[in-house]
């Protein structure tokens, strides 16, 4: 009995981790691109990222997810019809969940990365340009490595929020930890026990991430000297 339900929930744990990591990847990518856009000289790009951030931060995650999952499919198919393509696209819960979470947290990562990009001394970028580096090289060799240190605290925070927000995908029927814990609770008539078990799994994600990211932070802060205020 115990093993049956625990295994059931643990399989959901794998799904949760997959969603969390995939949407983290998408959100980081969106965040980086949008942060570069937000700090660029083009006014149109800056305005675009500003609107993106305002819209995302004004709407609850759950509502956005429901909108994309129920509405996105119809919108895509309408669009395909309009293009006169006779194909139907099936948006399953997994894709909808990952895309929505990536899209939402992209806005939060953008804010983090924007602040971090601005924290890198301007002279560093100018020095890179003076060496004849292309924009791409300046970004990958000078800007990004130095930005990591400033971005890490915000990144950690966003990741912790994101990993917990994955619980929302259970509402659109994806079989993650939450969904399966609720199922196990109903099946065994012990909802408290199994929900508590799920809670421990989430705490495990939090604790491990905090530990790992602290180590990463130490690595990227090598060479930083702290003042005498400590």
């Amino acid at each position: 009995m115990f093993q049956g339900y625990a295994g059931h929930i643990l399989r959901g744990f794998a799904t949760t981790l997959e969603i969390a990591l995939l949407s983290l990847f998408i959100a980081t990518l969106i965040g980086l691109v949008c942060a570069l856009m937000a700090t660029s000289e083009n006014r149109f790009l800056r305005e675009f990222t500003r609107i993106y951030a305002v819209v995302i931060r004004g709407i609850p995650d759950l509502l956005l997810m429901l909108m994309l999952f129920y509405g996105g499919q119809i919108a895509i198919n309408n669009f395909l019809e309009w293009l006169d393509l006779s194909m139907q696209l099936e948006l399953n819960q997994f894709t909808a969940g990952v895309i929505t979470l990536g899209f939402i947290y992209g806005a939060y990562f953008m804010e983090t990365f924007r602040g971090a990009l601005l924290a890198v001394p301007r002279g560093q970028v100018e020095a890179g340009r003076a060496f004849g580096m292309t924009t791409f090289k300046v970004n990958t060799r000078i800007l990004f490595p130095q930005m990591v240190r400033f971005a890490l605290p915000g990144f950690t925070n966003n990741w912790l929020v994101l990993s917990k927000a994955t619980a929302l995908v259970s509402v659109i029927g994806l079989q993650d930890v939450m969904y399966r814990a609720k199922e196990a609770g109903a099946g065994s008539r012990q909802p408290f026990t199994w929900l508590l078990f799920a809670g421990l799994l989430y705490l495990l994600i939090t604790s491990i991430s905090l530990y790992l990211l602290r180590r990463v932070e130490r690595k990227y802060s090598a060479g930083v000297r702290y003042g005498s205020h400590v």
């Binding site: 004004g58 609850p60 909108m67 909802p191 989430y202 939090t206």
Partner: protein, 233 residues
């Protein structure tokens, strides 16, 4: 886009009821959350090691688990225990409204306690020393110096937390309550117009967020006046 189909008195009243529910939930949990957070934030910085650690453990667990899980634990989970079902508390615990407010409050207390505790910890020590030098007791010191100063400095972070709570109230639609999101969901399933139904709710949420941001900006302008850039005369 077919918004005309949704512009009926029925959907309007449904949205309005949902909006009212969302506002009620937000006010209840922010008010209760504030009341619990202040004493907890003080005890988080207690000189007695075990008190501080206990509060830390509480906030760590609350901040480490999803709100949805906390809500389910209270609404679905507690019915597992015979003693709970037979006790007088069951009349409240079988109410989704009570469970929603309880879960939202516990969640916001976890975050708000850390915000306030952090603000208390980073107060300039000179302020506290000065109060001691004036012969203030610890209670007077707390009431007159520490709390006013700490609550002011945490205003910007606290405003974020309140906006997060506004968004968090949307989760109550998963435990049968009809808030703004729940109303949009009901309208979607009646008219089968997902984009339009959720879009209208999203616009209302954005307006609410904007209103909160304005209110907090005013509060910051008023209570953090000493940090405003001074005009040079």
């Amino acid at each position: 886009m077919n918004f005309e189909a949704l512009l009926t008195p029925e959907t309007f009243s449904l949205y309005l009821d949902g909006l009212w529910m969302t506002i009620k939930l937000l006010l209840a949990c922010v008010f209760a959350g504030f009341l619990f957070s202040v004493p907890l934030a003080v005890s988080r910085n207690s000189r007695i090691w075990i008190i501080g650690k206990t509060v830390w453990a509480f906030t760590y667990v609350v901040r480490g688990t999803p709100l949805l899980l906390q809500m389910y634990l209270i609404y679905y989970g507690l019915s597992q225990f015979e003693t709970v079902r037979n006790s007088f508390a069951w009349t409240a615990l079988s109410e989704p409204m009570f469970c929603a407010v309880a879960a939202l409050t516990i969640n916001t207390v976890g975050y708000t306690t850390e915000i306030f505790a952090g603000a208390i910890r980073s107060l300039p020590y000179g302020e506290i020393e000065a109060a001691n030098a004036y012969g203030m007791s610890r209670w007077t010191n707390l009431r007159r110096i520490i709390l006013p100063s700490a609550l002011r400095t945490s205003l910007p972070t606290y405003s974020n937390e309140v906006i997060m709570m506004l968004h968090a109230t949307s989760l109550v639609s998963t435990i049968t309550l009809l808030d703004l999101t729940g109303a949009a969901n009901r309208i979607y399933s009646t008219y089968y117009l997902p984009f339009e139904a959720f879009m209208l709710a999203a616009v209302v949420y954005m307006m609410l967020t904007y209103l909160l941001v304005r209110c907090f900006r005013y509060a910051e302008w008023r209570y953090l006046a000493h940090q405003r850039p001074q005009e040079v005369k």
